[in-house]
């Protein structure tokens, strides 16, 4: 039986606006199992990034429950939230966000430094992660020497190097051309299948949507539809 990675029940997130509130997420409930390759889609302002923020323990819900790896996000302190991110969640952003003064190797190594892994462990895991994304030859390059596709693949290696249970990817192909987008998506799909890591995307890129095995469509902070691509094609 697959492990439940994310369980959200009646989640509401409100932001203060002037004297009132803006409801970004309105009574959301969903469950994501281990090994899923799912995506949140929807127009701007539909709540994709807000939900990703909460599931990434970067923000907390206004009400309702958001369990990530059985940890209630709303009840986590700053340290526990950081520990959850450090140990179990990988992040991939649309602008890669590599540390510019460090090499590819050092960028990928960084999460392991936070986890206080030994040098030998780090070396093994970094080499393995670079192999996954096919960038062993670029290990000593600086981010400024990489193409967009290569940079995003380094970001994937950085997110995957600690073998997280969950990877949250916010518009990972937004800055890539079609060829690089497919390359990056192929890499993520392969890692999902090979390592069983759960991927949750926030996107409105059709190229990403083609790869998703589950699509959660948000509209005005609510889940409009939650389906697999086959059902979408049928509908």
């Amino acid at each position: 039986m697959p492990e439940t990675i994310i369980q959200v029940d009646n989640l509401i997130k409100k932001f203060p606006v002037g004297k009132g509130f803006f409801t970004a997420l309105d009574t959301i409930s969903l469950r994501i199992e281990s090994g899923e390759f799912a995506g949140l889609i929807g127009p701007s302002g539909s709540g994709k990034t807000t939900l990703l923020n909460i599931l990434g323990s970067l923000d907390s819900p206004s009400s309702g429950e958001a369990l990530v790896l059985n940890k209630s996000i709303g009840k986590l302190g700053a340290k526990e939230a950081a520990d959850l991110r450090k140990e179990a969640i990988g992040f991939i952003f649309q602008t890669y966000n590599l540390l510019p003064v460090h090499t590819v190797y050092e960028n990928v190594e960084f999460p392991l430094l936070l986890l206080k892994r030994t040098k030998k462990e780090r070396n093994l895991q970094v080499e393995e992660a670079l192999e996954w994304v096919g960038l062993q030859s670029k290990r000593d390059s600086r981010p400024s020497e990489l193409s967009g596709g290569e940079s995003q693949r380094v970001a994937i290696a950085r997110a995957m190097v600690k073998r997280p249970k969950l990877v949250l990817a916010d518009e990972p192909t937004a800055n890539l051309d079609a060829k690089n987008s497919f390359h990056v998506l192929d890499t993520m799909k392969e890692l999902n299948e090979r390592l069983g890591v759960t991927f949750l995307f926030a996107t409105h890129d059709d190229k990403v949507i083609q790869y998703l095995r589950r699509i959660i469509e948000l509209n005005d902070g609510q889940i409009a539809r939650d389906y697999t691509p086959e059902k979408r094609q049928q509908s």
Binding site: D59, A82, L84, F93, N97, V101, F110, L114
Partner: protein
Amino acid sequence: MIRFILRGLLRDRSRSTIPLLVVAVGVSLSVFMHAYVTGIMGDMVRQSAHYSEGHVKVLTRPYAEMAHLNPIDLSILNASELEEVLVHQYPEMDWVHRINFSALVDVPDSLGETKEQGPAFVMGLDLLSDKSTEIKRLHLTEALVRGRLPQHAGEVLLSEQFAKKLSVEVGEEFTLIAATVYGNMAYVNFTMSGTIHHGSPAFDRGSMLIDLSDARDFLAMEQGSAQILGFFADGFYNDDTALEMKNSFNTLEHGEAEDEYAPIMLCLADNPTMALYLGLGSQMGMWISLVFLLTMSLVLWNAGLLGGLRRYQEFGIRLAIGEEKSHVYRSLLWESLAVGTIGSAVGTAIGLFFAYLLQHYGLNIEAFSENASQSVMMPGIIRARITPVDFYIGFVPGLVSTLIGAGLAGIGVYRRETARLMNEL
């Protein structure tokens, strides 16, 4: 993690080189300034002490009140007896007699008519006795420009500048004219045995050194002295000891009760100008450190804020990956500690190097201080003086200010809202 921080520092010049330069420049300026002020204050205090003030001095109360006029008629009459008392009470001190007075020097031509005339500041001091410490104290041998030091009664030294002005050559006679303690005019011929360069514009303008016995004879003072100066054996003024001596001496009765001419003791710090310099000298290190600390903290805070803006994305990604805010903050402090240590060490070395140059070679300012008054003995060549304090006076504030600057700038890390990271990154 330390290696990760060091790599970042070495590769990112705006993170290391610029703050390091700022710290090094600030520290070197502090070290140099401290050595410079210590040198110039020390020289002024020492020169004033040696020439006119002593570390302590004993004189009559009326003389003390009008000392700027050199009122020899208010001098100590029984100076030898008083010296015995002083030697007995304070044997660790070196006591010397001084008589300062104003006079007119008249230089005759070959026919005996006046060739040149000029006002002179005359200092009577022990130049001829075997036990004299004055020649060494005033570095007269080193200061000799022409001729030799006086070896016989009737021989005097003129400042080189004064001698040239009066066109007096070594071995020539001239007449000294001044009022005695009784108000009579005295006219006595003296021979210039040599000329000296004091290195103090005020003294070099028109001074004359005369043996104490000659001065007493000339002024009809017998055993009198205008002042008896006392010097600490180690040559350095100690305000606490001087004050203690002064208080103990002045509480005793000297001479008859209610004698308005009874001697009193003053210490160097009783001269307001000297007190200012001594105060500055003792507190200067603290003030230089404080000003430097505040200035550098502000500069480095600002640099840290700019650096923080530049590294906004880096901090964001580190927080998102799971680094705690306190860890990011601590890493900033470690970076600043490394920068502060290296910058302070480099700055101290540079500051000491330039201070050494100024100490060794000096800077001739005689041209700028020609009109300096005699109340403060301004040296003609200013020199820095490197003291043990200079080895840490810049280092500690350099390090602390770097940490304070980074600490203040790093507060922004705590203000960063993780909830906005997805949008920002």
